[in-house]
Symmetry: C2
């Protein structure tokens, strides 16, 4: 049932790094994105797939991890993502992909959850460094990076208290994500 996938699809930031993800698995996720709607059907998004340890490390070094966890700089060796999908916008087709990126991301991430994987989206990316290290041509805007792996952490949904939406970790490393209640998001 879709609700199970949506509920399990949390932002995971610690993984079993030794569980690799095949290129074929990544292509199956891109196939989901390919079948997903795009504004005016223009399909300007393109995908760069990364799943070898050398390039994984290059991508990893361009990401800014978990803004609200001030004393955590990202996963340690052994808990890093096993793969990445870099979502590029082909500016020759469309200047601003608008809602297309989010639509594609959700298909990819739900697909990852269905495979027993999990991911995290990164908008906070050192794009200049990433472009240079992976030789991404200038006509492709780097929109988002999705990190993927087999999750090694528990993420639970909590209520928003006093308007505070910052996620936090407890002493047992369980990650809590406050969500606004349904009645508070219906106008």
């Amino acid at each position: 049932m879709l609700k199970d996938l949506v509920t399990k699809n949390r932002s995971y930031r610690r993984f079993y790094q030794d569980v690799t993800i095949s290129t074929n698995s990544l292509l199956e996720l891109i196939e989901l994105a390919r079948l997903t709607a795009t504004g005016a059907n223009k399909q300007s998004l393109k995908y760069k797939l990364i799943n070898n340890s050398l390039e994984n490390e290059e991508v990893f070094s361009c990401l800014d991890w978990a803004g609200y966890l001030a004393d955590w700089e990202g996963p340690e060796e052994g808990e890093k993502p096993s793969a990445y999908i870099i979502i590029l916008n082909d500016t020759r087709i469309k200047q601003n992909p608008n809602y297309d990126v989010g639509l594609a991301c959700q298909s990819i991430l739900l697909g990852a959850v269905e495979k027993g994987l999990g991911g995290c989206m990164f908008g906070s990316v050192n794009r200049e460094q990433l472009r240079e290290s992976l030789t991404i041509p200038v006509e492709y805007d780097i929109t988002l990076v999705i990190a993927l792996g087999k999750p090694k952490e528990e993420v639970v949904i909590a209520d928003v208290v006093n308007g505070n939406i910052k996620y936090w970790r407890d002493d047992e490393h369980i990650h809590h994500v406050p969500k606004r209640k349904l009645e508070n998001i219906i106008l």
Copy 2:
């Protein structure tokens, strides 16, 4: 399986208008959006649910249908959507919802397909008229409108030929949507 939902989740524009959609069904779709990731977990999106014939007509009159079908102005009476979800951004929380709208939309639309419904996203909306007719406060930006109903048309995926991505209808009113091939969207 998710791929079935993603494949069936096409943009539908003709519906069995007499098949109504309950407020409870719409709330179940918003629950999926509520559980979906948002940038920095800020959750600035809010939702206005429309499923009565008077307001349906008001929303309908604000939408611009199927840009590529020059000789079709939208569904006739009897084939119009039974409900709408208007996705609003609470600008007091976040100025630009970025990828959040697409992420939420995909959850909502996949949920609709699971219920035997289908939808279509509208970015081309007469926002001024919509705001006035539904009395939407100025602090909420109107991002997208999702039209929903029980689909009354067949939508099939085709290959892109000569770079032409415009969808088209054949003599039997089957709607064809050209999609780029997988190998053409991997960098």
